[in-house]
Symmetry: C2
Subunit: 144 residues, 2 copies
């Protein structure tokens, strides 16, 4: 199974895309830090200081301002995530996040899907708040 | 199965609670309108003008500033939703939303759970943006 989440953001695709690949920006709406600019073939370390968490992603594919594909975990053993940036009209972008690789055959698997959905919806809403209104304080609001 | 979602909001419980029960406020972060102040025994009509949608809820229980229990649909045939408002420190409230009554025995049921999770996370993040920053433009961002 997969998780697909879509958000409309009143900004050009370039700005939405740069929010992820530019390590200066990500701390305003998602992880507290990103180790380098996202480029194909790189392994990026993402930190979530507030939750004392750290993870790595492998950047598999980049189409500037249009698409980012990465996998969670170094060495590509994790789920694949595809972000697409569709500028449906000037200064309006629909970002889609597709995460693939779930098995929802038992309660544990369904729980993982729900946690994953929670994370993407939350991040994308925080991104909208940051890009449209300059708000960077939403990102630590979700309580587990 | 159930869906449980929690959000920390840097406001007193009274303000978070009033955002739901006061029909003047709900349009800033969730439905576009609510037909009356939420009180026990009332059936409230909720409209989502942007999606041309309309629904009713039955208010089952109210503990002012602490708890709201309602069911979707008039006559109580729908899922039960319990919202609790826990002021963990002055001007900091954790709101919990619990929706019960899902069956996740097939792909359709799992899809309903995911849609439901998406809706609650989105609404609660919009509520945080509205109460903490006065932003009321997030609520129409989610794309189905």
């Amino acid at each position: 199974m997969h998780n697909l989440t879509k958000m409309k953001i009143l900004k050009p695709a370039h700005e939405v895309y740069e929010s992820f690949v530019d390590p200066v920006k990500i701390g305003n709406f998602w992880f507290s830090s990103s180790s380098a600019r996202w480029e194909p073939g790189k392994t990026i370390t993402l930190k979530y200081e507030e939750y004392d968490a750290l993870g790595e992603i492998d950047i598999l594919e980049i189409d500037p301002n249009k698409k980012i594909v990465f996998s969670w975990g170094a060495n590509g053993e994790g789920h694949k995530v595809t972000m697409t940036f569709n500028e449906v009209e000037p200064s309006t972008t629909i970002i889609e996040v597709l995460e693939e690789g779930f098995e929802a055959q038992d309660l544990e698997g369904i729980g993982q899907l729900l946690d994953n959905k929670e994370g993407w919806v939350f991040m994308l809403t925080c991104l909208k708040g940051y890009l449209e209104c300059g708000m960077n304080q939403l990102r630590t609001g979700l309580v587990k």
